[in-house]
Amino acid sequence: MKRPPTSRFQTAAVLALLLVSMTGCFRVSSDVGALRDSVIKSAGAQWDQQIEFGVGAMTLTAARAGLAFVDLDPEARATLQAARGAEVGVYKRRGAQGEFRGGTILRAADQAMTERGWDRIVGVTNGRELVAVYAPQAVRSTRNLKVCVLVLDPQELVVASARGNLEPLMEIAFNRSGRHLVGNRE
C-alpha cells in the first residue's frame, strides 16, 4: 500500500526535527547565540565567523560508539562518557581595534543571559581581555549541568557551552589530585 505524500512529508519533517535536536545540528544553541550577539552588538566591532560548531547527545553517542574500538586513555574515555553536548563559536575581529569597553560588554552579556535564565558566576577583565562564565539560575542536578563561557581578546571572540555529568569529572579530578599528593609525599 502506497503512503500519501503528506504523511511522508510529516515523517521526514519529524525525523529532521529529531535529528537537529539530537545532533546539535552542528550550530550553536540559542543561549550561546544570544551571548554572542550581545557581545557583537556591545563591542562595537565587525566580526567574521571562523567556526561555529555544536554537537548534541546523538553525535556524542555515535562518537563514543566509534571510539569504543580505539585504545583510549581511561580518563579520556570517562570524560567523553560524561559529555552530553558541546558547542563553540569562534569569531575574528575585522579591522582596527577600537576602545575596549569591558564594563559595557559584561553588562550587555549579563542582560542577555539573565533574560534567558542564566547567572554570571565569574567575570574577569584584564587589559583588553574578558572572560565570563554563566550557569543556569535553576541548577538541579550535577548529572546534567550546562555552563556557558565567553572569552574575548583583542583579536578573537569565543563563545562556548558544555553540558555533561560533573560526577565522573570530579572523580577524575580527585584521583589526579590524590596522585599528585602521593607523588609529592614520596
Binding site: 564594563g103 565569574v122 567575570g123 584584564n126 550557569a135 539560575q137 550535577t142 560526577e167 570530579m170
Partner: protein, 186 residues
C-alpha cells in the same frame, strides 16, 4: 480625580511595600550589598565571582564522597561574592570612599571588626556577623592595596567560627586565615 488616583495608587503602594518587606525578610543577615562595580577604564584587573546557594549545594554533593569535611563546610555556605577592582586615577577615590562606606555601615549594623591591619600601603578590615556564640552568619573582607587594587569579599551562611580559617584556606583568602586565628582566641 484625586480620589481616583489615590484608589489606583493604594494597591500599588501596598504591593510595593509588601514586596519590599519580603525582600528584606529574604536577605540573609550576613549579606552585605557592596553595590555594582565596573571594570577600570584604564583596562586594569577586574574580577567578580558570585556563587549562590544552588551551585554551592551542588558542589557540596559533588565533593561529599571524597572530601566529607569540605562538603560539610560548603553546606554551611549560602553565598560567596568576591570583587577585585584594579585601581587607576579615575576610580581610586571612589573605591576608597566605597570601602569607608561599607565599613561605616557594618560598624553601624553591629558587625564585629575582628581584623584590622594597616601596614605599608595595605589596609585590611575583616568583619563578622555572629549569632550568639555558636555561629557566624556573615564575613566581610575589605582591602585597599595601595595603588594596586581594592578587594571586597562577602561570605554568607551558617558557619562554625572554627571553620572560617578553613574557608580561607580552601578559597585562598589570606585575611580569612587570620580571622580563624582571631576567632579561635576569643
Amino acid at each position: 480625580m484625586k480620589q481616583l488616583i489615590c484608589r489606583a495608587l493604594a494597591p500599588a503602594v501596598t504591593v510595593a511595600a509588601l514586596s519590599l518587606h519580603v525582600c528584606a525578610a529574604d536577605t540573609p543577615p550576613g549579606y552585605v550589598d557592596f553595590g555594582k562595580f565596573s571594570p577600570p577604564a584604564s583596562g586594569g584587573e577586574f574580577v567578580e565571582v558570585h556563587i549562590k546557594s544552588n551551585l554551592i549545594a551542588m558542589m557540596a554533593r559533588l565533593v561529599e564522597k571524597n572530601e566529607p569535611e569540605a562538603a560539610e563546610l560548603l553546606r554551611g555556605l549560602e553565598l560567596v561574592r568576591v570583587n577585585v577592582i584594579g585601581l587607576d586615577d579615575e576610580n581610586r577615590a571612589e573605591m576608597e570612599k566605597r570601602v569607608k562606606k561599607v565599613r561605616g555601615e557594618l560598624d553601624a549594623r553591629g558587625w564585629e571588626r575582628v581584623v584590622t591591619s594597616q601596614k605599608k600601603n595595605e589596609d585590611v578590615g575583616v568583619y563578622i556577623k555572629t549569632r550568639g556564640q555558636e555561629a557566624v552568619e556573615g564575613v566581610v573582607v575589605t582591602v585597599i592595596e595601595g595603588d594596586r587594587q581594592a578587594v571586597f569579599i562577602n561570605i554568607v551562611g551558617d558557619l562554625k567560627p572554627e571553620k572560617i580559617a578553613m574557608i580561607g584556606e580552601r578559597l585562598n583568602i589570606e585575611p580569612l586565615k587570620k580571622v580563624g586565628q582571631a576567632v579561635g582566641k576569643k
